[in-house]
């Protein structure tokens, strides 16, 4: 019983519901794909499985942003860069795994290098033929970048808007860099034409369902990691930094260490999300670094509810569902809808969808209201 109690504390009520939903999705989607006939309304096509898997990766990206923004007040407008770097690390492994099956049949060099008349594999491509090495890089590269970037920025107390602007500059610079053919990452076209991962054909239904299940499991694990961080003593300090950075520093905490830790963890998480994303969509290109992508991801968090973790997942999945619907049905309307969402959410729903839900619940139990609004007011100040 002790264990169950601790688990319940870890997840929280809404977290438990989220995990239950994820579990249900993990069971329902593969079953509906494999065993419900295509004619039925409950059938889930393989294409949809891929799309759902993609949403789960986005949700994980949103989760990583919520961890730094919602709990530590660092608004990163460059998290898309960590996501893309993780994706590139995975993409490089998938490129190497193509081997001699490429168009030019070169056993070592990826097609685009043969096309550019490169004779040798650049040194930074070494090791990516090993899956474990690629996995290591998926977390190490974004983690290292975040560590160096964060170390410099937090040490010199670049905060708030300034930090947002330089994170945006970072992802912009990376985008320009990856667009260059000379960088050795496929330039404009990026990395694509993947064949298989660990010997499983990427086009096969079973691989796609496997990746989908892996995404569900990783998202759930990432959620639990975030909850564990947030609920720990360290998490309390992070919240203190968010609400009163100077005061926390004066009390004696090394604020920049806490920020650096959470920023790096969050970047690694974004990298993992990117690594899961690439084999499912089958391409990674420099467009993923575009500053607009990072800002859009921030909005997922804002829509779902900043500083709730569950809200980030809801926002990541929900906004992307809306995007898929609008861009298919009413392409003209999508940017209006997305832009409107930004404005409406910031003006009228500062706590996102989850905030609306809890306000609704509070109306049912008015006794609690006073205490909470007082706490909220303090938080905002």
């Amino acid at each position: 019983m002790m264990l169950t109690d601790r688990f319940l504390r870890l997840t929280g009520t809404s977290g438990l519901i989220l995990l239950a939903c994820l579990a249900a999705a993990a069971i329902y989607v593969p079953v509906a794909n494999q065993f419900i006939p295509e004619t039925s309304a409950f059938h889930v096509s393989t294409a949809s499985v891929v799309v759902f898997g993609k949403y789960l990766c986005f949700a994980m990206l949103a989760l990583s942003i919520d961890l730094v923004w919602g709990y530590c007040g660092i608004l990163s407008l460059g998290h898309g860069a960590f996501f893309a770097l993780g994706g590139y690390a995975m993409g490089m492994h998938l490129m190497r795994e193509i081997g001699p099956r490429g168009v030019y049949g070169n056993p070592v060099l990826p097609d685009f290098m043969v096309f550019l008349n490169w004779q040798e594999l650049p040194w930074y491509w070494y090791g990516f033929d090993q899956f474990w090495f690629a996995l290591l890089m998926v977390v190490a590269v974004p983690g290292l970048l975040a560590f160096v970037f964060g170390y410099l920025a937090f040490r010199s107390r670049v905060t708030g808007v300034y930090l947002s602007i330089i994170t945006q500059a970072m992802t912009f610079a990376l985008m320009l860099a990856f667009f260059r053919n000379e960088m050795g990452f496929g330039g404009n076209n990026g990395l694509t034409d993947f064949k298989d991962v660990l010997g499983f054909n990427l086009q096969a239904d079973s691989t796609r369902i496997g990746l989908y299940l892996l995404s569900v499991a990783t998202l759930a694990a990432a959620f639990l990691v975030c909850r564990a961080i947030v609920l720990s003593r360290l998490g309390k300090v992070l919240i203190a930094v968010r609400d009163a950075e100077s005061r926390t520093r004066f009390i004696g905490y090394r604020v920049e260490h806490y920020k650096l830790f959470v920023f790096t963890v969050s970047a690694m998480m974004a990298g993992v999300a990117g690594a899961l994303y690439v084999p499912q969509v089958g391409i990674i290109n420099p467009g993923e670094f575009a500053p607009a992508n990072s800002i859009e991801a921030v909005v997922w968090v804002a829509v779902g509810g900043r500083g709730t973790l569950v809200g980030a997942v809801i926002g990541g999945i929900g906004v992307n569902l809306g995007k898929s619907y609008f861009t298919g049905a009413l392409p003209e309307i999508w940017l209006f809808a997305l832009g409107g969402l930004f404005v409406v959410v910031t003006l009228f729903m500062p706590k996102g969808i989850l905030g609306l839900l809890s306000r609704w619940r509070r109306k049912k139990a008015p006794a609690e209201t006073e205490a909470r609004t007082a706490a909220e007011a303090e938080e905002r100040a």
Binding site: A173, G339, F342
Partner: protein, 547 residues
Amino acid sequence: MAAPIPMSPFPDLLRRIALVLVLATAWIGGPAQAQDAPLQDLLSRLAGADFAETARVVEALAATGDPAAAPILEALGEGDLFYRRSDNAVFIATRGGKGYLLSDPLTGEAAGEAGRREVAKVRVNNSLRRAVRAAIGTLTLRSPDPDIRRAAAETVLKSRDPEAIDPLTAAIEVEADAGVRFVMERARAAATLNSGADDAAKIDAVATIAAKSDQEARSILLAATDGASDSLRQVLDEAVTAVERDLAMWSAAQNVWYGLSLGSVLLLAAIGLAITFGVMGVINMAHGEMVMIGAYVTFVVQEIIRNHAPGLFDASLLIALPLAFATAGLVGMAIERGIIRFLYGRPLETLLATWGLSLILQQAVRSLFGPTNQEVGAPSWMSGAFELGGLTLTYGRVWIIVFALIVFAVLILVLRHTSFGLQMRAVTQNRRMASSMGIRTNWTDALTFGLGSGIAGVAGVALSQIDNVSPNLGQSYIIDSFLVVVFGGVGNLWGTLVGALSLGVLNKFLEPYTGAVLGKILVLVFIILFIQKRPRGLFALKGRAVE
């Protein structure tokens, strides 16, 4: 040392130029029109002429210096010149009709047709063809149009043929245009260096060549070093060093110019932001869209002018300026009243809301005008270029730099010397005190934001001249603009000026070594590192207000 004869097609031409120049010095500089009568006489001599007679006529035609002789000579060289057997009249003929279509060689008017047997060709051989080409060259050198004379002199400057010295001397004596004379003197000096002249003459020539430091001078001097005597070689080496030093200086100056030009573009894009972000502290991610609105206002103004008053086209930008300011300013005020005022003190939320707004504005423009680039023309006073020393400056860029500085100066004046500027600064420094003194702070906020947005709109008018006018126009400037403002120091207009210009110059100085994209990346990395070092920018505000 024998005068080397360079392997070039020019000596023959030059010899003839020389001859003709000597023969016909009296013609040079005089009016060259209304000389059809001598041309007519010469033409008639071509009918049935033998090669020697034709050669004489060609020389005489060249000697007239009349541009009208050029088509005759060209036709002769091409073998298109014919005479009619019946009356010995000379025509330019092309195949067609029942045999040939005739046209008058002097007026170019059609002159009926002729059967194949009615006309005969004015025959030319290879040496005549050469003479014809030479004569055409002479005509250009002696053309009444100084541009054509200059081109002819520059041809000699490239060939450096010693044979050209005398004719050039003759031409220099009568040349009225100082610019053309300068080119001719340089051409003569280059030829002298290439000839067997004595060292004294050559040393004079070196001075003439080195008077203008360009690549041409450098290669002429280097070529002359071969086989030069010791004393001459010393002079040459000194001259080459001087020329190379000048060249390096001009190339640096050209880079500075490109940098200033880029910097002025950055300044235009960032200066409105320096107000909204720097002074008010509002993160307006829709700032780029204000620039875009300004550019589209320019487009609409030009469309209306094209359709209804084409004569006003040159004034289109001047008309667009106030309209762009008003349009973008009103949109800005609407944004401030409608959204931003609810978000004061919450910069991150402001950032998100205005980003959303920028998406809406982009899509609105895309729905109204379509996603493609719109054509915005340049008025005549903005096209073309001029040379300043070793620099080539385009008028468009010059105007944009001037314009950016004017906008900046006006903005400084408004902030320093108007009551609105005073109120604005008061509200920024101490809102409650300003309010107590009777300033309507809400209204000031809206006007300030409107001013920043209006300036962005004005920037859009200028940027429409150098960038594609498309719904994405603003997005390409927003990141740069923020970096400029942050780099220069928030809340400091002079910082924005210095930041924009220095980033522009830095970028252009990196480009030759790294290429455009890598240069841009390095600048971004530089700014990111710089902000670590000085989180408040180049010119930080000091005091308690910063926290």
